[in-house]
């Protein structure tokens, strides 16, 4: 046992762990804070508790209730204990609730491996809810007129699906996999700010429940973009959206900050920037985007909340504000945000390909340049969302150019994928299949994006199912496929258990096929004139919409295959995974399973990048290269 491991405090008795600062106290204080805010809100505005219109329409009360509820929840989890202890003069400590029992998964824990698994389960839960919303949307679109839901419920479903996906999935890969594996990959014993790491997770969970609670307050009619002045008009359910996205913004900014600090300061000796695993590079680029973009979102939503509560007019044309201001601020955050979703996928695919092709990563520097290029350019394209809005019409050629230029660094990633596959000795395991599918999906996503970046073509497709198909190809086809590649690749390390291979292959093939049969026809629907977010559509589009709905349900069933596999393999059968089933040379696979609390007995010294695969050209078993090859 090394000295650092001995520094972990002895476990408190179980009764002590159950009564203080865990999920139970958090929920109790959260509910208490909620009602305190509700009462305060009514006191401040002088509204009646009994008059129905006052109770139902008090935005101040609901916003205060949410904010105080979240603060209560965090205090209940114990986030104030350490600052208070320090203020009282107790000695500093780095660790809380590490290393003991399953209860550490249910509260504040500063072990990055625990937080990673918390994130995987928490995000998986909300991904499931948001996917169910998508199923309900497709149920409604089976018919061209409202049948299952009214227009208001339909728009709320659309809004919840979009907002939850775009909000929770910003941390879809960084939350579980970067938190768990970045310290392992860079030879660190923890993250730079372990408590902030735990805070980002619990903020995101609080945000998820707040967004779900919008159903009790009438939902919100704006979709995930929350455009003003519709935002200002909407009922109280809109406040759930505002608090949700603001909390997601805080969580994103802190997560990004923590990742940057960890990667910059905590790399093991010898791990120079040019030896950094490509996944860590992608996390770094994503984190830069998060730190720079998320504050814009928080500020925008603060202004929207003020417009709704104390009648400021930041976004109200009649009062000197502008609805354009919201659109610009939102997309100044929103476009970098879609790359927050895409970049980790680039990293996963490029990280996994060398392992399965038994070749070094082809074009390492080009891949890094591609990611950094996307990061930089993504801040200069946001007005392509406003091509037909009438603002800055003379700047459209610039935004057309900047948007199309972003496909050059994205093209680098494709070249690196193709170069790594070239003459490799690939084994088509499930993670590898997901990587190949990613390449195909993201290609279609990228090519359809060229149509949207072209202003004349965008005039037809803006705000239609074409756009919707495009970003589902980049986000589901890109992010979610990479997410599953990461699950099949890394969960054996995280749990020490292996997935059932046959069920995994069934999951892959059904998901890949039904994903494409669902979303490919949406391009056609969009081009034929189907707008987004409508509950009623033209009757000539009925057959194609029914086809899409049925395939969407089959895609949903394919997700159930995955859930079945997870429960069967990780809960029921529990077959042990090999120590390093993929024969990876990356640092995280060299640690023991389960990973000790301190990760490494001795901090490793790094003398190469993790892609030391392949035999020298001409060695036994490797085909000789022709001259000049």
């Amino acid at each position: 046992m090394s000295t650092s491991a001995a520094a972990i405090p002895a476990p408190a008795p179980l009764w002590r762990r159950l009564i203080g600062f865990n999920l139970l106290t958090a929920v109790a204080l959260g509910v208490g804070g909620y009602y305190l805010g509700w009462v305060l809100g009514h006191q401040v505005t002088g509204a009646s508790y009994y008059y129905q219109a006052d109770v139902d329409e008090n935005d101040v009360a609901l916003l205060l209730a949410y904010v105080l509820g979240v603060i209560g929840f965090l205090i209940g989890l114990g986030f104030l204990n350490y600052p208070v202890a320090r203020a009282l003069g107790r000695p500093p400590s780095l660790r809380e609730k590490e290393g003991h029992g399953w209860t550490r998964y249910l509260g504040l824990c500063t072990d990055h491996k625990v937080v990673g698994i918390q994130y995987l389960l928490g995000i998986g839960f909300f991904l499931f809810i948001a996917a169910l919303n998508a199923m309900l949307i497709r149920v409604e679109l089976l018919n061209p007129t409202p049948t299952a839901f009214g227009p208001n419920q339909y728009l709320s479903l659309v809004g919840m699906h979009g907002t939850m996906m775009m909000g929770m999935m910003t941390s879809g890969i960084l939350g579980p996999f970067a938190n768990y594996f970045v310290p392992l990959m860079i030879g660190a014993r923890r993250m730079a700010f372990p408590r902030i790491e735990a805070l980002t997770f619990w903020l995101l969970m609080a945000a998820g429940f707040i967004l779900t609670s919008t159903v009790f307050f009438g939902g919100f009619p704006t979709g995930w973009t929350g455009y003003e002045p519709l935002n200002d008009q909407a009922v109280m359910g809109m406040d759930s959206y505002i608090i949700f996205f603001a909390l997601v913004g805080v969580s994103m900014a802190l997560l990004g900050l923590n990742m940057i600090a960890t990667i910059v300061t905590m790399r093991a000796p010898g791990l120079t920037w040019s030896r950094l695993p490509i996944f860590v590079w992608s996390v770094f680029a994503t984190s830069v985007l998060m730190v720079l973009a998320a504050p814009t979102l928080i500020a925008t939503l603060l202004m929207a909340a003020l417009d709704r509560t104390i009648s400021t007019s930041f976004f109200i044309t009649g009062g000197g504000g502008s609805s354009y201001l919201f659109e610009n601020l939102f997309w100044f955050f929103g476009h970098p945000e879609v790359y927050v979703l895409a970049l980790p996928g680039f990293g996963i695919v490029l990280e996994l390909l060398p392992v399965f092709t038994r070749k070094p990563l082809w074009g390492y520097r080009l891949a890094v340049a591609g990611m950094l290029g996307v990061t930089l350019l993504s801040f200069f394209v946001w007005q392509h969302h406003l091509f037909v809005s009438g603002i800055n019409a003379d700047l459209r050629p610039f935004y057309m150019l900047s948007t199309e230029i972003i496909s050059i660094p994205t093209g680098f990633i494709f070249l690196c994928v193709m170069g790594t596959l070239w003459r490799g000795r690939a084994t088509y395991t499930v993670p590898m299949l997901f990587c190949i599918a990613w390449t195909f999906n993201f290609l279609i996503g990228g090519l359809s994006g060229v149509f949207l970046s072209d202003t004349p073509s965008d005039t037809d497709t803006h705000g239609t199912f074409f756009v919707m198909a495009h970003f589902h190809y980049t986000i589901v086809g890109g992010l979610v496929f990479a997410f599953f590649a990461a699950i099949y690749y890394w969960v054996p390390k995280m749990t020490g258990l292996r997935f059932n291979e046959r069920l995994a292959k069934v999951h892959f093939w059904t998901m890949f096929i039904f994903f494409n049969t669902t979303f490919m026809p949406l391009f056609v629907l969009g081009m034929k004139g189907m707008p987004r977010r409508v509950v009623s559509y033209a009757t000539n589009l009925v057959p194609l919409n029914r086809w899409v709905s049925i395939n969407a349900f089959l895609l949903g069933l394919s997700m159930l295959v995955f859930v079945t596999n997870a429960v069967y393999s990780l809960v029921l059968v529990r077959r042990r995974a090999e120590q390093n089933p993929w024969r990876s040379k990356s640092l995280e696979w060299q640690t023991a399973t389960p990973v000790p609390v301190n990760n490494f007995e001795k901090v490793p010294v790094i003398d190469s990048d993790p892609y030391d695969y392949g035999a020298p050209v001409g060695a036994h078993g490797v085909e000789p290269l022709p001259a000049g090859g």
């Binding site: 082809w362 603002i391 084994t427 072209d454 290269l625």
Partner: protein, 275 residues
């Protein structure tokens, strides 16, 4: 098998596939691409979409054929655990890729710009349009409100009509604005889309070339009845338009009397704020 061999075979495969598929896509799909040739702007979009599709086809084929080829050829023989060649890059391939993609991307942007600046491509240009088609123009105002579009004809006494009728072969100058939230005026067959923002005059030009009905839809989420904010407009001959507008003037003359004077934007009374 040598690398040159793989490379040549792949390139040959790709060239043949592209040479067959690209003309097929352009010839077969091009004519049926939306939004058709209902206006000068719409025909421009069809050309534009055809060019983009023609350029996307070889790129798509390159990556997809490569993936298929790689999956079939570059794989571990069953049971073997051989390593691949330890090649970490090739500066000639990388340079060529960067140069070719840059040229393709820049020429696409140049082409798009040329298409855009000619006649505005049917997209909203705001109060001070940058691309104004030459010649005489008929001014029509589109007013979005929850949840319908209405239209005012300032050169015909500012009459406000519930449906849109336009004369054929005339350049129309649409002034799109909103009375409440953001809407988007979308005349599908005419290739026109322009957001209706409160307090903003968003100008868009269109020259209809075919006498036909066209659908009008709101393309920006504007509240619960957004899905029902649609209508059918008509492009008619010049004499038919003259008689229609005269009839509208007489039918709606009592209403016109109470309308505010024609203006590019209307500031409604301060709205009921909050929820």
């Amino acid at each position: 098998m040598t690398e040159t061999n793989h490379f040549r075979r792949l390139m040959l495969l790709w060239l043949i596939a592209s040479a067959i598929a690209t003309p097929l896509v352009v010839v077969l799909l091009g004519p049926i691409l939306p939004p058709g040739n209902g206006s000068v702007q719409a025909s421009g979009h069809v050309t534009d979409n055809t060019v983009l599709l023609g350029m996307a086809t070889p790129v798509f084929l390159l990556v997809v054929l490569y993936l298929i080829y790689a999956v079939l050829n570059f794989r571990q023989q069953s049971g073997a655990v051989l390593e691949g060649p330890a090649v970490r890059g090739d500066s000639r391939v990388q340079t060529a890729w960067i140069v070719i993609t840059s040229i393709a991307v820049l020429s696409l942007a140049a082409y798009g710009t040329a298409e855009l600046v000619g006649n505005g491509a049917g997209s909203g240009q705001g109060p001070n349009p940058a691309s104004v088609p030459a010649g005489k123009k008929l001014q029509v105002q589109v007013i979005g409100q929850e949840w319908a579009f209405t239209y005012r004809y300032p050169s015909y006494g500012g009459v406000e009509t519930p449906h849109l009728v336009l004369p054929v072969d005339t350049t129309v100058e649409l002034h799109v604005t909103s009375l409440d939230v953001i809407h988007s005026f979308w005349a599908f067959q005419l290739g026109v889309k322009a957001d209706a923002n409160p307090g903003v005059d968003n100008v868009v030009f269109v020259k209809p070339t075919k006498q036909e009905a066209f659908s009008v839809r709101c393309a920006e989420l504007c509240g619960i009845w957004h899905g029902y904010m649609f209508d059918t407009g008509h492009v008619v001959s010049a004499p038919a338009f003259k008689s229609w507008i005269a009839q509208q003037r007489s039918v709606f003359s009592p209403a016109t009397h109470y309308l505010p004077p024609y203006s590019t934007t209307y500031n409604p009374e301060p709205t009921v704020r909050g929820s």
